[in-house]
């Protein structure tokens, strides 16, 4: 304790005290409700922490198979060479400090009738509420030939870690003048601006090291997130280097040949030096297995509590849930987790659910000094999570160089703050 400075103390110990003080209507009931959180990423990590902040009497167990979490946001900077994976890696000690019981194991089954969770390690745990936050699953085979074994030759790197490094190695090994292909997924998918930021970050490396190379984005979509801002930034910093081929230009990849690094569209075959294939997505495997998904492949939920509309007392947050107008982003998952935590705390002590408020802010980096953003404030309107009219929107196209630099500063600041909000 003596070595702990005041900052750490407030964050660890004071946080819970402050939470109770700040929330006179919540946290008085000695509920002892048992909450199991499945998945320790942006959604699940935040949920575990904020459940304890909202009601320290809740027994919160986080089940996460990995000992460490590697952040996908900011991992495109690893491809640029500006960042290493260590700076994206977090342990679960901070959550334990909040009184969360952290179990490193893999959930194999959720039984919504018996209200139990079974794990690969042989555990059988009972819950009053379970929170499912597994991220995304992949529609293997939706692109013919793109199956789990294809990721060696054609990494998706849509979860940060070994695949991020593999993609970086491939780009570094490529000869100057080669073409890096990014195959973008159809909507909806995790991190809508991600593929386009990735194009910029790869180009940032190529411009300095392999200036004759190109980046081509093959995309089934007709438009994409922050499109004008990205295209402006690409032209400004990497003129002629990045080409976007949309759905209207035969951009939809229908088949791949990992061995030959071939990408096949309806009318063409593209030979890639490096192929980053980001496959079509759906809810994470455990959500699908538990029957929490509808025909869309994603999980319908009550926006007030994120309780599944299919199974009661099972809640789904983050990428896997259908959250109205909110994108599948780290910030959105973090924001949803807090609404969920307030709702479960209220339910557990028999109180009325609070009126939710949600925020999303997504920064993207064109260069280390050129940031762009999209933001929105959400509330429930007509039963759905909807953007508050008149609020939100994009960075201005006519922003000054100083403003773009400030946005880059705040992008990095966001990363420090949001990860501290989850893991410390």
């Amino acid at each position: 304790m003596s070595s702990m400075n005041r900052r750490q103390f407030v964050k660890l110990a004071g946080g819970a005290v402050l939470a109770v003080g700040a929330l006179p209507t919540i946290g008085h009931g000695k509920t002892k409700a048992r909450v199991i959180v499945i998945g320790g990423g942006y959604g699940g990590g935040t949920a575990a922490k904020y459940l304890r902040l909202y009601d320290p009497s809740l027994q919160v167990t986080l089940i996460e198979k990995n000992k460490e979490y590697i952040s996908c946001p900011l991992s495109n900077e690893v491809l640029a060479g500006d960042r290493n994976l260590d700076s994206l890696t977090f342990g679960y000690g901070g959550l334990k400090g909040h009184g969360v019981d952290v179990i490193h194991d893999e959930v194999t089954e959720i039984d919504p009738e018996k209200k139990t969770v079974a794990t690969g390690g042989g555990r059988q745990l009972e819950y009053d509420f379970v929170v499912v936050s597994p991220g995304v699953g992949y529609r293997w085979g939706a692109i013919e030939g793109y199956n789990p074994s294809a990721v060696e030759a054609m990494p998706h790197a849509w979860e940060a870690g070994e695949q991020t490094l593999r993609l970086r190695r491939q780009i570094r090994a490529m000869e100057d003048g080669g073409t890096v292909f990014i195959v973008a997924p159809p909507n909806p998918f995790r991190c809508p601006p991600g593929p386009y930021e990735r194009a910029a970050q790869i180009s940032h490396y190529l411009k300095a090291n392999k200036p004759k190379s190109k980046v081509i984005i093959l995309d089934p979509k007709y438009a994409f997130s922050k499109q004008k801002l990205f295209q402006q930034g690409w032209e400004m910093h990497y003129p002629g280097m990045i080409e976007w081929v949309g759905g209207h230009q035969d951009g939809k990849v229908i088949e791949v040949d990992p061995k030959r690094k071939l990408l096949v569209t309806e009318f063409e075959e593209h030979k890639a030096a490096v192929a980053n294939v980001i496959p079509p997505q759906k809810a994470g495997p455990i959500a699908e297995k538990t029957g929490l998904t509808d025909d869309s492949g994603w999980c319908p939920v009550d926006p007030r509590s994120f309780e599944s509309t299919i199974h009661s007392d099972v809640h789904v947050i983050g990428d896997s849930c259908i959250a109205g107008a909110m994108p599948k982003s780290g910030y959105a998952a973090n924001s949803q987790a807090k609404v969920l935590a307030a709702a479960i705390a209220a339910k557990a002590s028999g109180k009325r659910l609070p009126e939710p408020s949600y925020v999303n802010t997504c920064y993207s980096l064109i260069t280390p000094d050129h940031g762009i953003s999209v933001a929105a404030v959400y509330s429930i309107q007509d039963g759905e999570i909807s953007g508050v009219e008149g609020a939100g929107g994009l960075s201005p196209l006519e922003a000054s160089a100083e403003q773009r630099k400030e946005e880059a500063l705040y992008a990095h600041s966001w990363y420090r703050n949001v990860t501290a909000d989850i893991f410390t």
């Binding site: 700040a22 924001s335 408020s357 404030v377 609020a391 966001w414 703050n417």
Partner: protein, 195 residues
């Protein structure tokens, strides 16, 4: 049973009334927790977005109103502030004002801090911002322990005549316009160094 009935009736009426009042009052914690992604848990920022936990309610409220109206320039805050009613802004401001201020943890050059302190005194900043960058007026923001880079950006806004700044700080335009980048950096370092 006969005695109990009206009591239960009253209780139910009371609960309904409480629920009704509750529905009309924005929840400061619900709103304030959405800001943590950029400003840190309870407004304790890891930098360089400003620390807002522990600022005065009046100042946060005024800042949000100024962002919303466009009176104060920002990169992103105007887009977010437009999402909230007066009542919601008041509730969020109350939530952050209730938190303990935790100063930025920065490595600062002691020479720069010393020079900044001199400027703070000789250029008259002390008049409104107090000896340490903590004002007695709740509408004047706390500078002590704020991130230096953030403070520099804000001072640059005042130095640029085309950037919108809050009217009550308009005197700072004249005071800062004669200063060099180095002076502004020194001032920021001094404020950041204070607790």
């Amino acid at each position: 049973m006969r005695i109990g009935k009206p009591r239960i009736g009253l209780l139910i009426a009371g609960l309904l009334a409480a629920a009704f009042v509750g529905a009309d009052e924005p929840d400061g914690a619900m709103l304030g927790h959405t800001c943590a992604g950029c400003h840190g848990t309870y407004g304790v920022s890891e930098g360089q977005a400003p620390v807002i936990g522990g600022m005065s309610k009046s100042f946060i409220r005024k800042a949000m109103h100024d962002y919303r109206s466009g009176e104060r320039h920002s990169t992103i805050m105007a887009r977010l502030a437009r999402g909230y009613s007066d009542e919601e802004i008041a509730a969020m401001a109350g939530f952050f004002a209730d938190q303990e201020w935790v100063s930025a943890d920065e490595d600062l050059d002691p020479k720069e801090v010393k020079r900044g302190k001199e400027l703070h005194t000789t250029r008259g900043c002390v008049g409104c911002h107090g000896p340490k960058g903590i004002s007695s007026s709740p509408l004047t923001p706390r500078l002590a322990g704020q991130y230096s880079e953030y403070l520099e950006i804000q001072m640059d806004y005042y130095r640029d005549p085309d950037t919108a700044v809050p009217s009550e700080g308009i005197a700072m335009r004249g005071m800062l316009s004669g200063m060099s980048d180095e002076d502004v950096a020194a001032l920021a370092a001094f404020y950041a160094s204070q607790q």
